[in-house]
């Protein structure tokens, strides 16, 4: 079975059975999986490790790629809530829109969404040593993007959106963030930012980072990176580091 590609029809298969079949195949040495007719099954690729690749045709259910550590997933369709919850490493590409609380507490790896995303994306994201998670959103975002963010990067493009009249992000962007950075393509109205936050133009170091992330995002989704990079970017970063550092153990 090793080195073979596994193709499964997920139509009508309950999430437990589907995940059991995936896990059995991975244990048996399969490294490449394609799932057809996925519709709402939860926890796909949750906690899986190593060099695995998965293509999903359909709409995966809640908490896809939660705690995942290494594999790459491509979704040809929309995704629901909780994608990449506490993900450690790997790459998730969604060629569509996605729901709420994506990348919650994400600790590493990359999450690319082509279109709009819901509320509370990238909240509690964190970075440690060489691990620094990245979320790139091609469309627009709801409220509380990057709330309580402690590390990593979020890039918000606002370009591939079904909501032409909406602002690029909802209210309370980056509320309570104390680490990491949020890059936004074009200016962000101050009223959309969380308390005490401001946005500022990016510098050369930022530009290099943005270029690297956007180029990869565009490559994965067949988009024109030059066109995306043609607009100026602004960044939102924390106004304080470890705001509660003195609360319990005063120095």
């Amino acid at each position: 079975m090793a080195d073979q590609k596994l193709v499964l029809d997920a139509k009508g298969v309950y999430y437990r059975q589907l995940n059991e079949r995936i896990r059995d195949a991975v244990t048996g040495g399969v490294r490449e999986i394609e799932l057809n007719n996925v519709n709402g099954q939860r926890y796909i690729f949750t906690g899986l490790k190593g060099e695995l690749s998965l293509k999903i045709n359909g709409v995966p259910g809640q908490d896809m790629a939660a705690f995942m550590n290494g594999p790459s997933i491509r979704v040809e369709g929309n995704a629901q809530d909780g994608v990449a919850n506490t993900m450690d490493d790997g790459k998730v590409v969604v060629n569509g829109i996605a729901g709420d609380v994506l990348g919650y507490g994400m600790r590493g790896g990359r999450l690319y969404i082509r279109g709009d995303v819901g509320y509370r994306v990238g909240i509690h994201m964190k970075a440690y040593k060489e691990k620094s998670p990245v979320i790139v959103i091609g469309g627009k975002a709801g409220d509380f993007l990057g709330e309580y963010m402690a590390g990593g990067s979020i890039i918000l493009l606002g370009m591939f959106s079904d909501k032409p009249y909406a602002p690029i992000c909802g209210r309370s962007l980056g509320t309570g963030m104390h680490g990491g950075v949020i890059y936004v393509r074009g200016p962000v109205p101050d009223t959309q930012l969380g308390p005490h936050l401001t946005s500022e133009p990016v510098d050369e170091t930022d530009k290099a980072r943005i270029r690297e992330m956007v180029t990869d995002f565009a490559l994965e989704l067949g988009l024109d990176a030059q066109h995306i990079l043609a607009e100026s970017f602004f960044k939102v970063k924390p106004f304080s580091h470890r705001p509660y550092g003195n609360m319990y153990v005063p120095c």
Binding site: Y15, N39, Y119
Partner: protein, 364 residues
């Protein structure tokens, strides 16, 4: 104190409630199989302690009569309720609600439906309009008739609900035999109120019905406020207040659905401060008059009456809601997958903004 051994190692309950709704804007009748199948996709959002459906257009031959679905503890409760109905109405028809014996639905209440006409010579509440009269009778039965509850009280519509998964309830109530132009469904995961037959969703009054994912933390204040306006909460579930508040705000006080949504999910004060003066004054007035009708806590609700379906979130969107269009049909659901399960190619799929209602009305 030391934590118990392996305290973290338990089978986690992964539920949250699930809602689904569909409206055929051209009144095309949709067989019950469709909403049942959609709810099955979200089976794991509930835990078997509540499931239910509301359906509109199911009693076309008796569409001019008020249809009361009654849930009674026993035959005695039903007899007491029937006496009350006879007192207030002329009974056109009365029959048991058709059910099917199923192994999973144990100990169901006595379920009966009555098609009613208001008596020309009313024994009480003579000065009230017909709908207020119906509301008064429903409140009277739920409050004063032991062992009897009115599960729905509209025209050409009905609520079918109880303890079980939605698919169990659908099987039990034989919903595959009904056709409706609006369906809503609910899968319950009761958190802080009991899982009992009356407490399952939808909650209804007149033609209103509500299914809800979340919790109404303001239940206490909403309930007391409703009590001042002669709406009595007897069903021990927070969602009940939404049905009665809508009746009060929209039917009695003539607020539009959009205005009622601003009462439920008001804009933030800092957003209000940026509005033109006249709008600021309007929002302040709305808050001053209807502050006690504001819904606090997380919610995604689907509201239906005979001619529309509305989806609404709390103002910070603490529960998911997805809307999709396919030709003349509009779907609203907790999960996109449930819509995909029962539709063809969707014209449009989107997640509405927090606090902004999506209202789909019938054509014409």
């Amino acid at each position: 104190m030391k934590a118990p051994h392996r305290y973290h190692d338990f089978e986690k309950d992964i539920s949250g409630c699930g809602v689904f709704g569909v409206i055929a804007r051209d009144r095309e009748l949709i067989p019950g199989d469709m909403p049942i199948k959609a709810m099955c996709t979200m089976h794991d959002r509930g835990n078997g302690l509540g499931g239910g459906f509301a359906a509109y257009g199911i009693y076309p031959d008796l569409a001019d009569y008020w249809c009361f679905h009654l849930m009674c503890d026993d035959q005695v409760g039903l007899e007491r309720a029937e006496e009350v109905l006879k007192h207030f109405f002329e009974i056109k028809e009365a029959q048991p609600i058709p059910t099917r014996r199923t192994p999973v639905v144990t100990n169901p209440p006595v379920l009966w439906r009555f098609f009613l006409k208001v008596k020309d010579a009313r024994p009480k509440w003579k000065e009230r309009d017909e709908k207020d009269y119906i509301v008064s009778v429903v409140m009277h039965i739920n409050q004063n008739v032991p062992g009897a509850f009115v599960a729905s009280s509209g025209k050409n519509m009905g609520a079918f609900k109880g303890v079980g998964f939605p698919e169990d309830m659908a099987d039990f109530y034989r919903l595959d035999e009904y056709k409706a132009y609006i369906w809503t469904g609910h899968n319950r995961f009761p958190t802080n109120t009991p899982g009992w037959w009356g407490g399952a969703h939808p909650f209804t009054l007149l033609d209103w019905s509500i299914v809800h994912n979340g919790e109404i933390s303001s239940y206490g204040i909403n309930r007391r406020y409703l009590c001042e306006h002669d709406y009595l909460c007897t069903l021990m579930t927070d969602t009940e207040v939404v049905a009665y508040l809508l009746d009060m705000l929209v039917r009695r006080h003539k607020l539009s659905l959009r205005m009622a949504s601003w009462v439920f999910s008001p804009p933030f004060w800092d957003d209000v401060a940026r509005m033109p003066k006249e709008q600021q004054d309007a929002f302040k007035a709305l808050r001053m008059v209807y502050g006690s009708a504001c819904l606090n806590g997380p919610f995604a609700i689907l509201v239906t009456a005979g001619d529309f379906m509305m989806g609404l979130n709390d103002r910070v969107k603490l529960r998911p809601l997805v809307v999709a269009e396919e030709g003349k049909r509009v779907y609203m659901s907790s999960e996109e997958s449930s819509i995909r399960e029962v539709s063809g190619t969707l014209d449009k799929v989107w997640a509405p903004k927090a606090g902004e209602p999506v209202i789909a009305t019938l054509e014409n």
